[in-house]
């Protein structure tokens, strides 16, 4: 595995349809990744309104929640991701 691949973030964003916070979270995440992690991220958006059972995998309770699946360990960030610094700290490989 190359360093490049290792540093790719696999991100899962859990949203609830088009609630204001869900829309804000999607928009904020796309912008932060575009600006700070160009080409090094992969986002999957899961709408729990449509598939509530998918909440179990990561034990999601509050929506929106972002899960950093890779690199491990798994990290969760709860909220609409409007605090950019907090998001960047949690996405950075340590």
């Amino acid at each position: 595995m190359s360093m490049e691949e290792t540093s790719t973030r696999k991100l899962i964003l859990y949203v609830a349809g088009e609630t204001p916070k869900s829309l804000a979270a999607i928009s904020n995440l796309e912008r932060i990744c575009r600006e700070h992690l160009p080409g090094k991220y992969q986002i999957e958006v899961i709408d729990l309104k449509k598939n509530p059972q998918l909440a179990r995998e990561h034990k999601i309770v509050a929506i929106p929640t972002l899960v950093r699946e890779l690199p491990i360990p798994i990290r969760k960030i709860i909220g609409d991701l409007s605090d950019e610094q907090k998001v960047l700290v949690n996405l950075r490989v340590e």
Binding site: G17, E18, T19, P20, K21, E30, K76
Partner: protein, 492 residues
């Protein structure tokens, strides 16, 4: 063994700590409003519950609104956009959702709306913005009102389409300006449509016709006659020519049906409102009547001047010949000739000052006699009503007075210190001539002219151009008496 048990326990404790931390974080997020939905499980089935108001009712309301409407959060991010808004920007909701208004709207409009939603005031005046929608500029009145959407505080922003109203106002203003331009033009301006029906006409144009112009057909309202040289038969041809792309300028024409039948200079240009074919024709008619009248007057004056110059030259030639024949010396000729030409010039000057119309007899007398005696003194008396004489009689009388005055200075009343001259202007009667009498007295004893020189001829013949004009010269012992008959036809 003990160690592995301790490790397992420690791992369990770490896991529990992690879960507690997560649980605390989740609760804090719910409490501070960072999330707006939660997953709840019941009977083995998970369900998502949205916290706060149900936004679907709000969305349905927005969807039914006629103006474009969006809901944005405090950062200007689109939380919902109704069908009209999506139509304005030709975008699907999936492409619009979550975007900032500033990413969708053009810069100036985004700035104006940005100020609306950043204002602290609850009541903010709407702003007017315009931007291109499928290549056409459209105008919107944008207003923003604060709303609560779920757990967030945001704004409902509406876009009311003013384009048609703005267009109508612009068109109305343009129409008013166009009408004002036409109305304030000094020249006659007529606008007609492609069918030659008059749609606009200003005051100067109305004065060219006896009927109301707007609504009438051009060729019946203002029929024009064109000189043969133009090759144009009627006014409709000008319209057709300009509609076909050939504007015509400054064509002379005559408007026989216009009040006071006028000469006009006509120009026709196509009325281009759009890029399509001309929608009509704009005609301007410059009134040439006064100019034509002035030209005729000028030609008349030129002919009159020519005639008078010829007459005067003939008279000068005649004076020269006759003076030469009656004078024996060069000095004598010079003196007499100059005196007579000056006499002629004096009358000419007076006539020029009076535009060659008529002269007062007293003025002519004054001009001719004043070089020899004080006309307002004791030695010259004028009695009777003044007469106003036409140029022919004025010139003749000027020459007669000159000869009489010269003679009086040499031999008669003005040759000594005491003689007097009385000029009596007789009142007009039914007679075809008016009489004026020149009577000298107090001078030396009078002898008849020893020889009838040119002076005598001038006195005798100057007024003989008419059977009612002439003079009688008598050499009375007391002084010369000259009876002058002026034809009544030359008295104004």
């Amino acid at each position: 063994m003990r160690n592995s048990q301790e490790q397992a326990l420690q791992s369990l404790i770490d896991d529990l700590r992690q879960r507690v931390a997560e649980a605390e974080e989740t609760l804090a997020a719910i409490r501070d409003g960072s999330v707006d939905a939660v997953v709840v499980g019941g009977e083995g089935k998970d369900e998502v519950l949205v916290i706060g108001d149900d936004v679907s009712a709000f969305r349905n309301f927005m969807e039914a609104m006629e103006p474009g409407a969006v809901a944005v959060d405090s950062a200007g991010r689109l939380l919902y956009a109704n069908a009209r808004f999506r139509q304005i920007f030709a975008e699907d909701w999936d492409r619009l959702k979550g975007k900032l208004l500033s990413e969708i709207l053009p810069g100036p409009a985004a700035q104006l709306i940005g100020r609306l939603i950043n204002s602290d005031s609850e009541e903010t005046a709407p702003v007017s913005v315009s931007f291109l929608e499928r290549g056409m500029e459209r105008n919107y009145l944008v207003s923003a009102r604060p709303v609560h959407l779920g757990t967030v505080r945001g704004f409902a922003v509406t876009f009311s389409d003013l384009t048609e109203r703005v267009r109508a106002e612009t068109a109305e203003r343009a129409q008013r300006v166009a009408n004002a331009i036409i109305a304030s033009a000094n020249e006659a301006v007529i606008v007609c449509d492609r069918m030659h029906n008059i749609t606009h006409a200003n005051f100067a144009a109305e004065a060219l016709s006896t009927q109301k112009l707007v609504g009438a057909r051009l060729d019946t309202a203002i029929p024009l006659k064109f000189p043969d040289a133009t090759g144009i038969l009627e006014i409709g041809e000008l319209v057709e020519s300009s509609l076909a792309g050939t504007p015509l300028r400054s064509i002379e024409a005559f408007a026989p049906m216009s009040p006071g039948a006028r000469d006009v200079l006509v120009s026709a240009a196509p009325l281009n409102i759009s890029d399509d074919e001309p929608e009509g024709c704009v005609l301007t008619l410059v009134d040439l009547t006064q100019r034509k009248k002035d030209e005729r007057q000028m030609h008349l004056l030129m002919r009159e001047l020519d005639h008078r110059v010829k007459n005067t030259l003939a008279l000068v030639l005649s004076i020269s010949k006759r003076t030469a024949a009656s004078e024996e010396t060069l000095e004598g000729f010079q003196g007499s000739f100059s005196g007579r030409i000056e006499a002629l010039a004096a009358t000419h000057n007076l006539l020029a000052g009076a535009s060659w119309e008529s002269l007062s007899l007293r003025q002519i007398f004054g001009a001719e006699v004043s070089p020899y005696a004080e006309t307002s003194g004791d030695r010259i008396n004028i009695t009777g009503p003044d007469l106003s004489l036409y140029p022919r009689a004025a010139i003749a009388l000027g020459l007669i007075f000159h000869e009489l005055a010269t003679n009086a200075t040499k031999y008669g009343a003005l040759s000594g210190e005491t003689g007097t001259i009385d000029l009596e202007i007789h009142p007009r009667t039914d007679s075809p001539s008016v009489e004026v009498t020149w009577t000298e007295s107090g001078g030396p004893p009078v002898k008849s002219f020893s020889r009838k020189g040119f002076g005598h001829t001038v006195i005798a013949r100057s007024l003989s151009y008419s059977p009612h004009g002439g003079t009688t010269l008598d050499f009375e012992p007391s002084g010369v008496v000259c009876r002058i008959r002026i034809p009544v036809s030359d008295v104004a």
